[in-house]
Amino acid sequence: MTQATIVDVPEGTEAPPRRSGAVRYGRAVPFFVVPFGLLFVLFYLLPIGYAIVQSLYTVERTGTFGPAREVFGGLVQYGRVFQDGPFWSSIGRVLVFGVVQVPVMLGLALLLALLLDSGLVKGRRFFRLAFFVPYAIPGVIAAIMWGFLYSPNLSPLKPVTSAIDFLSADFVLWAIANVVTWVYVGYNMLIIYSSLLAIPAEVYEAARIDGAGPIRIAWSVKIPLVMPAIVLTTVFSIIGTLQLLAEPQVFRSFSSAVSSTYTPNLTVYSTSSVPNFNLAAAFSVVLALATFVLSFAFLRFTQRKGAR
């Protein structure tokens, strides 16, 4: 965008400098684009392409210890993916997780952002940082810490945890949801909050002149104006939910309810440690497609709603 405006300036003036100018900027374009392009290809397109290629192969061997030969297998691995019951039930599990956890987390994030923005809170900077701190803690550490808090015999909240086993099959999904919420509320709040800060003061002034109180302003002015930020955080959260790995992986060691195929990514991980890289690649590709379809469907849904 900046480039467009810079190029625009000499456009009205004489021809020769414009031309030379265009060439100079023309050189600048690859200068800025190549590093990105290179990294994008190297770290994004290539791995995805490689995963897709891997997923189309299958192994052949002769004898009980015969070395494996990778041969093109077409969609054989995908056939296995679609017959894999645990994989699909894990997708169902994370969908249930997402339907509950994402609205709760984003609702909290929005509420906290509105509170910070409302002027009701003293020490805004402190709280802004305080809410964000959990995000700075690595997910694995957060999961281990919560694991201790949930532990039936060692928890500092033992009276509660010995009465309700948060690590049992009935509760563990929500125990994990709580960890994820705790970690990511601050992060999402910050995105929404920065979007709130970008709203011009005149808009509030106009609303106030029209007689709107703080709650009305929040409901009818702020929330609609930060909708794009909420949509963005929702898409991130949908992606994150489908790709849950660190938390369930940590919980697996201290909960008997978390299996090796508890979430789709855990299935990918377990499969690649067999090692069966081809099948793991097929799982990954299917998971990526599912993520893409869900995120895209959500965006289309919100855009259509916005158009009305």
């Binding site: 052949e60 790709q243 090796s260």
Partner: protein, 440 residues
């Protein structure tokens, strides 16, 4: 969430980076498989997770300026090092030597990752120094092969709280029947006789090994998977009974909760391997002086059969450029008294050589166990392990599946029997998806 995205990207990248160079043809690698000494000084790389290994390696490096060993430590095998090895195999950049437990050796052989070190004359000559069943774990029953050099073993015995048993007038169980009867009395006294390992399937494998169950067989043509034979079912039924009656606790193994169960005297015994001595010492320091070791309970009174839990080999990877020197170091590491003594001091490793079990450092009384000479019990057990237990070529998958089922069983959903049946099915499935011939 972005963090997760990038983490995923990084792992995908790591996979792809590993894969790009990995299309080695089987012909090419087969040609490289020989074992001749290198000329001039060489550097050997070695990956392991033995605590204190640096000191042992230093001992070697100081004496062998021409064969320098560079050691890299990582998490234990199933905790991440095997995954790294598999990735490195695909990328073609494995270290020269790797620490691989007996149960994982077939998995690495089936991925065409290991050098048959029996081709090295020094290894072939050293064969007789090892306890026969440990050698069997690396040769897979083929007298002319060795897919690693045995390092340590995990003969099993019964760790028990002498003070609690005495105070409550309970006899030390010599058979599994007595053990189950003692479990009732322990429960009445307010404890659990033990903690059943719900997710580390190796303990159960050790029980099965003792009972005579054999999970895998390989006739050269195809694999047979038999996780539901009568012997295994007998063991499963036995523990299912204790679980159903709530006579054992079932906290997840290798967690702080687990340590706490022993440290707080809630669990009174542990049927474990020799290295378990260290686990109790570090996990339950409050119980110092109160533990003793007795032989493993028997299925038939008067028998002397032990199970085995764990044990490792030092394997030479196929891509090693200095297999002879690698084997030379591995032999020193696992047969010389100086190395074995240090390995035992630093990591409580129990040697796999016949001479090793008789070394003087293993005759010392151990303070934590009330000055009992505990290694004498294990020295006997080491000779009582039946030699012919075979591991399958995809144990990671078998363990994951069994662990899922065992976890469900201790939560009251299903039984150990059902878990083993599901594992049987899953294992056959995994073998088929790897194109490994298997009898159905």
């Amino acid at each position: 969430m972005r963090k997760r995205l990038s983490a995923l990207l990084i792992s995908v990248l790591a996979l792809s980076a590993c894969g790009s160079g990995g299309d080695d043809s089987p012909e090419g690698t087969a040609a490289a498989a020989s074992c001749a000494p290198s000329s001039g000084p060489v550097t050997i790389t070695y990956t392991t997770w033995i605590p204190g290994i640096e000191k042992v390696v230093k001992l070697w490096n100081d004496k062998n300026p021409n064969i320098q060993v560079k050691v890299q430590t990582g998490p234990n095998g199933n905790g991440g090092t095997y995954q790294n090895f598999f990735n490195q195999l695909k990328a073609g950049n494995t270290p020269d030597l790797g620490h691989i437990e007996y149960d994982a050796l077939p998995s690495f052989r089936v991925q065409d990752g290991l050098l048959d070190v029996a081709q090295c004359d020094i290894v072939a000559k050293a064969k007789d120094q090892f306890i026969p069943w440990t050698w069997n774990q690396v040769s897979f029953g083929d007298a002319k092969s060795a897919w690693g050099i045995p390092q340590d073993s995990g003969p099993m015995a019964l760790f028990y709280r002498a003070d609690l048993f005495e105070k409550n007038g309970i006899a030390i169980p010599k058979t599994w029947d007595e053990y189950a009867a003692a479990a009732e009395k322990v429960k009445a006294a307010g404890g659990y006789i033990t903690n059943f390992s719900q997710s580390d399937i190796n303990q159960f494998a050790g029980f099965t090994w003792q009972a005579g169950g054999r999970w895998f067989a390989n006739d050269g043509q195809q694999w047979t998977v038999n996780l539901t034979d009568d012997k295994t079912k007998k063991v499963a039924g036995y523990w299912q009974n204790l679980i159903s009656k709530k006579l054992v606790s079932t906290v997840p193994p290798w967690t702080t909760e687990w340590d706490n169960a022993y440290n707080s005297s809630s669990a009174w015994t542990w049927v474990s391997a020799v290295w378990g001595a260290n686990s109790i010492m570090s996990g339950a320091p409050k119980t110092a002086g109160k533990w003793r070791v007795a032989p493993m309970p028997q299925w038939t009174a008067g028998d002397d059969v032990a199970g085995n839990w764990g044990g490792s080999a030092t394997a030479v990877f196929k891509s090693s450029k200095h297999p002879y020197e690698a084997a030379q170091f591995a032999l020193w590491l696992n047969t010389s008294e100086e190395a074995l003594a240090l390995l035992n001091k630093e990591a409580q490793l129990y040697p796999a050589t016949t001479a090793g079990t008789k070394y003087s450092y293993l005759a010392n009384p151990v303070e934590f166990y009330g000055d009992q000479k505990i290694y004498e019990v294990f020295a006997d057990a080491a000779t009582q392990v039946t030699p012919d237990f075979t591991w399958g070529p995809t144990m990671t998958s078998t363990y994951a599946s069994a662990s899922d089922g065992f976890k469900a069983a201790v939560s009251g959903q299903g039984t150990l029997d059902e878990a083993l049946a599901a594992t049987q099915k899953q294992t056959v499935e995994t073998l088929k998806s790897q194109a490994i011939p298997v009898k159905e």
